[in-house]
């Protein structure tokens, strides 16, 4: 089984205006890397559009309708100082949320162990009733709710390593113990939420990091906070809000993660997934605004997602060889 890659050309058509950091070139940079030989084993799939039913498990119908009413026929419309939409933004947002729902279904069907959704607009700031922070629909929360509904899952975890706190995802989950939300983010930057004492019904784990935190702090909080919380929760599916703006070259924040740190974190999440839920992981793009750093970080992340299969195959082959050997000896 390979890793699935969900994306759609419409995600490249969501135009945020001249010079905006959340730009189509982000996705182009990512897809160009994922088209190279080391990623030949990825199975590419077109993202479908999310349905109203999928969206309204998280968002109010009023939010969905207002968003579509605001989409301009030409040019741009600024929802707030950060969040700009254009004629194709509606379809891009539907494909992004739809990608995560389709990936969740495929993984729960056993079509693959894990999937990466190369999508934009991102989602984790979007709240039930409003778009904000470059985000229109909350892709992670919509995917998690879809897994609960169609898979009948009781426990779904979202790990969010974007440098900003996922206020929208937290708000969607904080009253429901069937969800676990774990977020690492830089303290005191946008959107201002994500303090350690915001704990929901014991199902929210916020890990604010001070500016300039890097590899050492990441490893420390993995051991102290993330892994224990995950293992205690015993998720049946893990979603990853994979933002890569904690990279040391990212212009929007001040943490110092590297590509190697993203690979390390991904492998450790997969190891827990292997123990708790047969390796079922759906990851999706959130932020990341330095294009070379973003492409390299996504490459490291997806490579780690793909490697788990090779490791599993190797151990399977080893098993078979050993059984044959035992048979011969008998």
């Amino acid at each position: 089984m390979t890793t699935l890659l969900y994306t759609h050309p419409a995600c490249l058509e969501h135009d945020t205006g001249f010079g905006h950091p959340e730009c189509p070139a982000r996705l182009t940079a990512i897809l160009n890397v994922l088209k190279t030989t080391p990623f030949a084993a990825l199975e590419w799939r077109d993202a479908p559009q999310a349905t109203d039913e999928q969206l309204t498990r998280i968002h109010t119908l009023a939010h969905v309708e207002r968003l579509f009413a605001r989409i301009p026929r030409h040019g741009h419309y600024a929802i707030d100082g950060d969040t700009v939409i254009s004629p194709q933004s509606g379809e891009a947002a539907l494909r992004s949320a739809g990608a995560v729902c389709a990936a969740v279904e495929a993984i729960l069907n056993g079509e693959a162990n894990n999937a990466f959704c190369a999508i934009r607009p991102p989602g984790h700031h979007a709240e039930s009733h409003q778009a904000m922070g470059f985000c229109l629909f909350n892709n992670a929360a919509i995917g998690a709710a879809h897994a609960r509904q169609i898979g009948g899952l009781e426990r779904v975890a979202v790990i969010d390593f974007d440098v900003h706190h996922g206020n929208g995802t937290q708000a969607a989950f904080e009253h429901d113990p069937g969800y676990l939300y774990i977020s690492t983010h830089q303290a005191h930057i946008y959107p201002g939420t994500g303090r350690r004492d915001e704990r929901g019904v014991g199902n929210i784990v916020n890990i604010p990091l001070m500016a300039n935190s890097g590899a050492a702090e990441l490893r420390q909080v993995w051991q102290q906070d993330i892994e224990p919380a995950l293992r205690q929760f015993q998720p049946q599916l893990i979603l990853i809000s994979a933002g890569f703006d904690a990279h040391y070259l990212d212009p929007l924040a001040g943490l110092n993660f590297s590509e190697d740190d993203y690979a390390w974190l991904t492998r450790h999440i997969l190891a827990v997934a292997q123990d708790c839920c047969e390796g079922r992981v759906v990851s999706m793009l959130e932020g990341g605004y330095n294009l070379p750093a973003l492409a390299a970080s996504v490459a490291a992340h997806v490579k780690a997602l793909m490697e788990i299969h090779r490791a599993a195959q190797r151990s399977l082959i080893k098993d078979i060889l050993e059984r044959q050997k035992a048979k011969r000896n008998a």
Binding site: F18, H20, P21, H74, H76, A78, A211, L249, P251, L252
Partner: protein, 152 residues
């Protein structure tokens, strides 16, 4: 302001800056400070490897009361070399560091300028004035006003 996010240190720094050797006399350093509006000057060897930075504070530091003399001797101190008072292992930045991060760093460290180093060699100096100029340049770029739908 989006444009500012694309700027790197290399876009705003003073390239090929004036630098001194570890053996430069403090008298010459003071003359340099008199002639130019520097806050500090990088200290390099023949290969332009960065050895330290000598700021006006470092120069003043040479005159602090210490065990050597009851009162500092001006001429004697000015004969000392840069390496005796410079800040060793100075904080430096890479040319590809986003300018937004450099700004943060200047504020956190309350410093006025930082040396820019690439492959161990000094390639520039970046100061508060350079960042202000870059911010001004970025603000001139096109921005989308809130709640404005552009006509076809």
């Amino acid at each position: 302001m989006y444009e500012f996010l694309h700027y790197q240190v290399r876009d705003a720094m003073t390239a090929d800056p004036i630098a001194i050797s570890p053996h430069t006399k403090l008298r010459e350093v003071e003359a340099l400070f008199e002639a130019h509006d520097f806050n500090g000057v990088p200290v390099v060897d023949d290969q332009w490897h960065l050895h330290g930075i000598l700021t006006k504070f470092d120069l003043l530091k040479a005159f602090c009361f210490d065990a050597h003399a009851l009162i500092p001797h001006y001429d004697e101190i000015m004969e000392q070399t840069a390496e005796t008072v410079m800040t060793r292992t100075p904080v430096s930045v890479e040319p590809q560091l986003p300018l937004s991060r450099l700004l943060q760093k200047l504020i956190e460290m309350r410093t006025k300028s930082l040396p820019v180093v690439e492959n161990g060699r000094l390639v520039g100096i970046i100061a508060r004035e350079d960042v202000l100029k870059a911010l001004r340049r970025a603000a001139i770029q096109h921005e989308i006003p809130a709640h404005e739908e552009l006509r076809p």
